[in-house]
Amino acid sequence: MIGFTLNTRPVTVDAAPETSLLHALRGPLGLLATRFGCGAEACGACMVLLDGEPTNSCTLPLARVAGRQVVTVEGLGTPEAPHPVQAALLELQAGQCGYCLSGIQIAAAALLARNPAPERAEIAEALAGNLCRCGAHNRILHAIEAAGAAMRRAA
């Protein structure tokens, strides 16, 4: 049994300690927003916040998660109460297939938490570990700028 905090709630998982966090999330924990893209830390589709830091969950063994705080897309917001990044992505229709957007939401939320007024280059830097194959990059960059602006207005 490995215990950690998932989207502010304590959870325990009955799985081998070397099981990846991604498998635990999509398997026994039943949270499907975190996605598999490569299993090799090359795409960012599987990103979660681990103690607030964007982290690829595909290669992260459960043993290293024990006792820590994990936030997934489900923990960022909901359709009724979206995170500013989610609201802005929808507002700007920033996505085509949308498969990459989970990891991107996570990376963007972490960026805006420490810098709500990032430049385009800083956003691109924060998304250095995220790939998008559909070419939705510009809309995503604009949406994260807009999300930052919304957060500054709300603050």
Binding site: L90, Q96, R133
Partner: protein, 708 residues
Amino acid sequence: MTVPVLPQSLRDNPRPAQWIGFVPGKRVRLATGKVELGQGVLTALAQIAAEELAVDPARIDVVSGETGVTPEEGFTAGSQSIEASGGAIRLVAAELRARFLAAAALRLNCAPAALDIDDGTVLQDGAATALDYWSLAGAVDFEAPATGTVPPRAPGQFRYIGRPLPRRDLPGKLFGGGFIHDLRPEPLRHARSLHRPWPGAALGPLDEAAIARAAGGAVRLIRLGDFAAVLAETEALADRALEAAEARARWSGGTPRPAVPSEPLALLGAEHAERVLEVPAGRADAAASVGRVGARYLRACLAHASIGPSVALARWEDGRLEVLTHSQGVGMLRLALAQALGIAAEAVSVQHRPGAGCYGHNGADDVALDAALVAREAPGHWVRVQWTRAQEMSVVPFGSPMVVDLAAEVDAAGRPVSWEMTVTSGTHGQRPGHNGRTNLLAAEALPGATPTPPAPDVPDAAGFGGLRNAIALYDLPAQRITHHLVARPRMRTSSMRGLGAHGNVFALEGFIDELALRAGEDPLAYRLSLLSDPRGRRVLETVAAMSGWAGRPRGGEGVGWGIAFSRYKNRAAYVALVAEIAVEQAIALRRVWCAVDAGLVINPDGAANQVEGGVIQAASWTVGEEVRVGPEGVETAGWEHYPILRFAEVPEVAVRFVGDATDPPLGLGEVALGPTAAAIGNALADALGVRVREMPLSRERIAAVLLG
């Protein structure tokens, strides 16, 4: 009276009942054979139906891609969905609305002209009546074939068409779930498959017990000839079992593996079928030749590299097979599965579920057969197979390498007086059913399977494969175009976004640029001097104005501007594009401007999104992508070895639509690929003063050309 030419989709599926139904709860059911690939097509199709039916788009539920349920419309490919399915829906909905108005007029004992419909409710002289689509549905004929004679609404009357409606599927995908990857029907088992690393390879013995021990759980090994799969209760266990099986798999024999470098010609091989296309002169061969110009352009082999891997779910029960897939063509997949499994097509049902971005014939169909084969060994269970990243980028069909040779004789004014082009390429069409074969990967590995014969290319009538966009739209002398369809490329090739257009437009528009420079003329002015098509001229002139082409910086300094033009498939949307780049050792993409004439645009925001995405993807292909093949198979089976454009590397993209809303809508999902490649290539030549004619326009290629 002229008989209207109906869209193929409507000729194949003429009954309104096949497309539209009115269901309790004041909902409208819209059925289409086209599927959502991340391109937003279902939103646009719903928009068209909403317009012609005069109902709020929010009332419409779309059913898409289900064999036996939705209209059979072939593949969702070739930028055809809005023209084919959208064209059919527009006519069917307009006609149904007229049938409802006629039925209402009978009930109300008035002339149909006194009636209108607002959000599904019948209005008489502008006032709501008790009648609506739902109460009247029983009195209306949904079976009599649509005639296409009821004119759809005109642009001035539009309520929904032309408005930027948000995508219906995006929220579900943003907050989690929404993909085929996320389906968990019970009882569920997870499988992973093993595929030949090269064609014809034989798989040595595998020990189920050893694999299970290494994986640390109960694992079933399924062997069918040279195909194998591992089946387990959880995904984590299936992954470990695959790793154990792959480590133990010994492959031998098969086609000789190329110990060659990955240059397009070496990958293609020499054996080919030749044919010649003569295109009549677009202008008289007025003057005598004063010289001959020739150049060879190359395109590398390209991978789809979708962010999500291919997935399928299958269930076998009582001799019936159910399949969930993200294939682009459920009807063709159904036939191919039946053929591969040796069962009747009636025993197979195939339903589409959204996958990650799809840019052509990827692994979706192959993995569906994997799942079906395993499901047949585990009846009663849903079997879910997911490919690994390495499989996704090695055993899938690729976009073929291409070699394009161009030659022209020019007159004293620098205008061509002869024109020859030779395109050498593998096939761009090897989808299930093409050539009568299943073309499913595992089918060839099954016991007793015969090797696939060389595939033909996409038919000319479908817009050509290797020759897509090989015919130049300029006012040229007679064009002599030779196609070398390579018989046995070293890798599997099939349809990838734009097919031959990416390589051909890169070459054609690069060559036109060379001719312009040779004539000492501005590349835009030179193009306009050879282009009488008014829609072509308009996109070129628009993009010049958008980008400030006339005032662009001159004289190198590491900055380059390039322009390019094409009309996709010579019959879809017109595109002109300007790229601004900076070059030190490698290309830094700065800005792209793009003018598009796609006729009537159904959803401007969705359309812009498609074009923007096409520009970025093509930029990625053009500057950095190349599949490499070595003695052990594909060497670029992961993004570490096959980098795609990153957030810090993308150019800003401005798109403007300049079409006329009275022109029919033209497909635009693939229109930007070729012009993007060409504009970047031309910008690079502008910046360097020498031309790099081989994609990818990588640091290494640039260095090689600069060193001469």
